[in-house]
Subunit: 222 residues, 2 copies
DNA sequence: TTCTGTACTGTTATTTGGTACAGTACACCT
DNA sequence: AGGTGTACTGTACCAAATAACAGTACAGAA
């Protein structure tokens, strides 16, 4: 899909984020400042390239005359939408564009704490926390959790090795972390992770990280 | 709701339409031209009045620095909201304005079947259907149901006599209707209703009606 | 009656922002 | 070896846009 270069993608993302945050597109100077260019012309060149490739339209003679085109424009008002995150591409932040399956029109502020993204639950491991197979859970992004909270943990799938999100109840005692399913059936075993063999606070070496804490759910079928 | 004057409302609408059509807000001159002002100052005065009343925010020193504020941005699309229905005033249709506690920004089409309104569950009578106290259920409005479906039933509260919504699993056998809670604790007893003593198809005389069928739920706390 | 708010006209100063032109450097393709 | 596209720096001009000041007129509230 994307015949944009890395830099052009970054700039398009910046335009989108500016629209979301400020309500209007950035100027050439805004873009230059954001990316550390010393000249507006750099930004202008990129805009023209992105426009030529059909992602935006530049309206000549108009300040901030940048228009997102077609499917781009639909994503404009993400203000009351949440991304549904599927599988996680290696090395990407969790809410990176590539991990977003779709956007659902649900107000993030409905949840407490506020939801930053959604994830569709697969399996029955949290059944006794009343979270069922197919439920869509709201997750508040944060990288740690309190004991007893339900967390969205990111770790490689045991067979495929691909990063995936799983819900578990989190407990930490010193260097020992327990991720506990809420299902007393014998098939569901708590997962024990020992941080001790790792270098201090470096988490890069463990294939486990907390993406956020459970903030509620949506069940879409009667 | 609107403490804006006629003219101010027109101008706010123009800003909204410009945002939709061009992707960025108008300038003072755009506004002046649209309304036939010969001076930009007229537009500026209006913008400052609208901003003072909290509908927009003006970002000083920025071309087209007009931002719709949250409430305003929401009113752009009434179509992705659902009314939360609390108690039912006597003799009113269920989604009548007076019964609406608030509007929540949730896409009705998320649910299957489509939700027409929301209702906050109180109590534990549907616990074993994984519907908990405090959950917000989506209801698809219809006046009958299939056997075994969970319905939103409207009937007078046993003590106060005020109409209220309760969730129950619905069964009908001839003239006999059973509304069954999903909680095996002895406190929760099925409710039996016999339509036989009533005049044919007239339901006005029975203090029970189906408001719709359960279509899913939202749980807003982790 | 005075004050405040609405609804403008008219003018001007100043900043913001778009855009053209002239370069440099590097990578990739043919 | 030369052409094309990307990714910038640097300068400059001028139109676009904000914003302030000074008015007029009218309407409703204190």
């Amino acid at each position: 899909m994307s015949d944009l270069t890395q830099r052009q993608t970054e700039i398009l993302d910046f335009i989108r984020s500016q629209l979301r945050e400020t309500g209007f597109p950035p100027t050439r100077e805004d873009i230059a400042r954001q990316f550390g260019f010393s000249s507006k012309t750099g930004a202008q060149d990129h805009l023209m390239a992105i426009a030529r490739k059909g992602y935006i339209e530049l309206v000549p003679g108009n300040a901030r005359g940048i228009r997102l085109l077609k499917e781009e424009a639909a994503e404009l008002s993400h203000q009351f939408e949440l991304p549904l995150i599927g599988s996680i591409a290696a090395g990407t932040p969790i809410t990176a564009e590539t991990n977003v399956d779709t956007w659902l029109r649900v107000d993030p502020e409905l949840f407490h704490p506020r939801a930053d993204f959604l994830h569709r639950v697969s399996g029955h491991s949290m059944k006794e926390a009343n979270i069922l197979d197919g439920d869509i859970v709201g997750i508040h992004a944060q990288d740690d959790a309190d004991n007893g909270q339900i967390v969205a943990a990111v770790m490689p799938h045991p067979r495929t090795g691909e990063d995936e999100i799983t819900l578990k109840r989190y407990f930490r005692r010193g260097k020992k972390i327990t991720l506990k399913p809420e299902n007393s059936a014998p098939a569901y075993k708590p997962l024990e992770i020992d941080l001790a063999p790792l270098d201090g606070d470096s988490q890069e070496q463990t294939p486990f990280r907390i993406a956020g804490v459970y903030a509620g759910l949506i069940r879409v079928r009667g």
